[in-house]
């Protein structure tokens, strides 16, 4: 299959053109807005068709996991011909890109379809389609990020997504807390982005290029050994800085404060941005620069951050009463799992968890939107989001209930579902690392406890909302019976179909059994063969392809490497790994079922009293409710304690000293110079040159005007004199 730019560019360009057209079209209102919404949905559906085509070619083409397509064009060149200061943009497609593209486009299509239901009444499709305008721009930015081949264009699309997130969170901008939330989201991710940019610059300075392929080649060629920046090895420095971008964007431990507040945005926006795509972009970046993380010995740090995030967010989610807040914290927690996966080195499993999480989390958010939308409080004219006022909704909303249960079981890690496959693999790899050295026990333990809590709080949410007796009679009575509507229920059911584990592992139990044949070694799980850590030594002899040219490399099996199911270990170690994985799988099953059991005992059958636990750990409970006081730390500690006094100091310096003396001082100097200039002007120009010319003219005039005396006899005399003079001169 020959790939030219025209088979890949529509993926990004279709939503972008939809954005441009809708920016003008959607404001008009009425039929124009309906057309704009249709255009937005159609464009993302078109992108998904192109993405599916790439997916088909890559996945069913039996390529090796390290096959990629890389096309480059020079955007600008500061050195005029050389490659030293050239900034090259391009696309980079391998199996991971193909799977990610399909996930993003298909999930985005489903969310767009759902949004036509959800935003229908919000002043004509989201304030006259403004919602859809930003959604189109966002999807085009995300797809551009997935396809991009260098860190610089990743950064461009990263920032663009940050802006779209800001606009979408602040969709209901007339409420002050929504405006604050959108600014908070933007600013918090910005802090991460500053370090990301610093990492890119450090990398560019030392390597000379920011493209991933060049990075891998540089790692293989040893360009990083012995180079230090401020005393820190270069690989560590760059990896930390770029990973800080991930911390910001994927809401990891220090910078996770923005995601719960981001729930102020409309629910489909939360589904797309804060569940499936934008927060996944940070993990995608970490996966792309994984060789750098490995080289910089950063694995333990990354795993710890992931583990702390996973457990911390899970504990906060235990005490939340807002329906969407539980989902927000569970997103943070699952992102922690992905980062934990990156840290322990299970590249494949982290990516698989990214994909599975995107699907079931998006479905959860959409279902939550459906629930919230149907619960209408007639007194405040708002939708009810608090779980204490829900209960027993399964009788009223059967389809939503079914979709939500599928996704909840997936996230809890129940066997046969997709979440189990991916999460179990991450935890299994963490266990393997823990058996190697004791310090890895900490992230592993955090992961396992987090898994238990995940099962518990998700099922708590389901039981509180859907089961039991309705706690608020009025809300329950006014809730509409759910009928199957194509744009509300179809996306939910479509996404919930993909929460089954069979899609990702190729078997019902999800463990090591066969689906797709690999020509060399018999049969392995298809997803596992697809995606592997980039082997940097393969990138040393990299050839750039021109952007507009056809893909001319040979694609048959002579090029691909065989899938090493032992991951490069010998038989005994591989057996040990499999053994540990089996233990981990059994532990995961027990933990998940245990969590569901505890939640059922507390909230479904009401045998155990959660109030007992609240009272015993009251202080801890209050800490959890305040989200470990992180918001207070940032607002009262950093901003009010440090930044604002610093700002005041700087402004005192700026206005008191700088403005007064340096800026206003110039006025004195200028006034003095003006006087000098005036003196010069008066003397030389006015008196000497201007008046002097007049005086000299007048002087000569007095002499010369006697010639024209008007006296005829004088003229006669002159004539005679001149004639005589002429004759004499001869």
């Amino acid at each position: 299959m020959d790939y030219t730019i025209s088979s890949v560019a529509p993926i990004v360009l279709l939503p972008f053109f939809a954005f441009v057209i809708n920016a003008f079209l959607a404001r008009k209102g009425g039929k124009a807005t309906v057309a704009a919404v249709f255009l937005a949905c159609a464009s993302i559906a078109g992108s998904s068709i192109y993405a599916l085509k790439i997916f088909k070619d890559f996945v069913f083409g039996n390529y090796a996991a390290d096959y990629y397509i890389h096309k480059v064009f020079t955007w600008f060149d500061l050195n005029g011909g050389g490659q030293e200061f050239a900034v090259n943009m391009g696309i980079y497609i391998d199996n991971m890109t193909a799977v990610m593209l399909v996930m993003v486009t298909v999930v985005a299509t489903m969310i767009h379809i759902f949004s036509t239901y959800y935003m229908h009444h919000d002043m004509n499709y989201g304030r006259n389609g403004r919602f859809f305008v930003y959604m189109s721009l966002f999807t085009s930015a995300m797809l551009g990020l997935v396809l991009s081949d260098n860190l610089f264009s990743v950064f461009i699309f990263w920032e663009l997504m940050g802006f779209c997130s800001y606009s979408l969170i602040g969709h209901y901008y007339e409420k002050e807390k929504t405006g604050n939330a959108s600014i908070k989201a933007f600013m918090t991710t910005r802090i991460g982005d500053v370090f990301f940019l610093l990492g890119i610059v450090a990398l560019w300075t030392h390597i000379g290029s920011v493209s991933f392929v060049d990075l891998y080649a540089a790692i293989a060629n040893g360009a990083f050994s012995g180079v230090t920046v401020l005393g820190i090895p270069l690989a560590t420095f760059c990896a930390v800085c770029i990973f800080l971008g991930t911390i910001g964007k994927s809401a990891q431990f220090p910078l996770n404060v923005w995601l719960p507040d981001a729930m102020n945005g409309p629910t489909p926006c939360s589904a797309l941005i804060h569940a499936a795509t934008m927060v996944a972009a940070g993990v995608y970046l970490s996966l792309r620069i994984y060789p750098l993380i490995e080289l910089g010995n950063l694995n333990y740090f990354v795993a710890c951050i992931g583990g702390i995030t996973a457990l911390g967010a899970a504990t906060i989610a235990l005490v939340q009463t807002d329906f969407k807040a539980v989902l927000a914290f569970s997103t943070i927690s699952q992102l922690g799992y992905m980062v934990l996966g990156v840290g322990v080195g299970s590249y494949n499993a982290a990516f698989m968890h990214l994909i599975t999480h995107a699907i079931f989390k998006a479905c959860l958010f959409l279902a939550a939107g459906s629930v919230i939308h149907s619960l209408h409080d007639h007194h405040t004219h708002e939708h009810v989001q608090e779980m204490p006022r829900m209960g027993g909704l399964r009788h009223k909303m059967k389809f939503t209930w079914f979709a939500m249960w599928c996704c909840t079981l997936a996230i809890a890690g129940v066997p046969f579902f997709s979440g189990f496959v991916s999460k179990d693999r991450i935890l299994g790899d963490a266990l393997v690392m823990a058996t190697h050295s004791p310090k890895w026990i900490i992230p592993t333990a955090l992961g396992f406890i987090g898994a238990f809590l995940t099962a518990f709080y998700m099922c708590r949410m389901m039981f509180l909302a859907f089961h039991g007796k309705p706690r608020d009679k009025e809300v329950y009575d006014h809730c509409h019976e759910e009928h199957f509507s194509w744009n509300r229920n179809l996306p939910l059911l479509f996404l919930s179909v993909f929460t089954l584990g069979i899609w990702f592992s190729g078997s019902l139990t999800g463990q090591g059994v066969v689906k797709v044949a690999d020509a060399h070694h018999g049969k392995y799980e298809w997803f596992q063969t697809l995606i592997q850590k980039p082997v940097v030594s393969k990138f040393t002899t990299m050839q750039r392809e021109d952007f507009s040219g056809m893909d001319t490399r040979v694609k048959n099996s002579a090029e691909k490497s065989h899938y090493d199911h032992n991951h490069g270990l010998n038989e005994e170690e591989a057996h040990h790994v499999h053994h540990v994985h089996k233990i981990g799988a059994i532990a995961s099953i027990f933990i998940a079922l245990g969590g569901i059991f505890v939640a059922a005992m507390m909230y479904l059958w009401n045998k155990w009293n959660p109030g007992f636990w609240v009272n015993t750990f009251n202080r801890y409970y209050r800490t959890l409710q305040n989200k470990y006081y992180m918001d207070d730390l940032y607002i009262k500690g950093f901003i009010q304690g440090l930044l604002i006094p610093f700002n005041n100091l700087l402004s005192r310096f700026d206005m008191g000293f700088y403005d007064k003396y340096v800026v206003d001082g110039w006025a004195v100097v200028v006034r003095y110079l003006m006087n000098v200039s005036k003196w010069f002007d008066n003397l030389f120009v006015d008196t000497i040159m201007v008046d002097g010319t007049g005086a000299s003219v007048r002087f000569f005039n007095v002499i010369l005007r006697t010639i024209q005396s008007g006296k005829i006899q004088f003229y006669i005399i002159m004539i005679i004199l001149v004639i005589f003079g002429y004759i004499l001169a001869l």
């Binding site: 005007r705 024209q708 005396s709 008007g710 006296k711 005829i712 006899q713 005679i720």
Partner: protein, 101 residues
């Protein structure tokens, strides 16, 4: 001996006399008299040259022409003086200062 130079000297003296009259007199009609003297000097010059150099009759003929021209010129000059008097009420030459800057 009476030769060409003596006629030329006489003609020169007549010319100077006429010139002096033109320069020195303040009466316009007196200036016209000076012009007549100058013309006469020129005629004498012509006649002298034909007598001594060229033996034909060109110079003498020229003198006749000069007389006619002098008469016509005098007529025109007097017409100008009359016009001048009608405007300025005087025939003093120093009153003709229209060209004075």
């Amino acid at each position: 001996m009476i030769s060409l130079p003596s006629y030329l000297i006489i003609s020169f003296c007549l010319f100077i006399a006429g010139l002096t009259v033109m320069i020195a007199r303040k009466n316009i009609i007196a200036m016209l008299l000076g012009i007549e003297l100058i013309l006469n000097a020129a005629a004498l010059n012509f006649a002298a040259y034909t007598r001594f150099i060229n033996q034909n009759l060109d110079g003498h003929l020229m003198s006749l022409f000069i007389i006619v021209i002098a008469a016509a010129e005098a007529a025109v000059g007097l017409a100008i003086v009359i016009r001048f008097f009608q405007i300025k009420e005087s025939i003093h030459i120093d009153d003709a200062t229209e060209l004075q800057s």
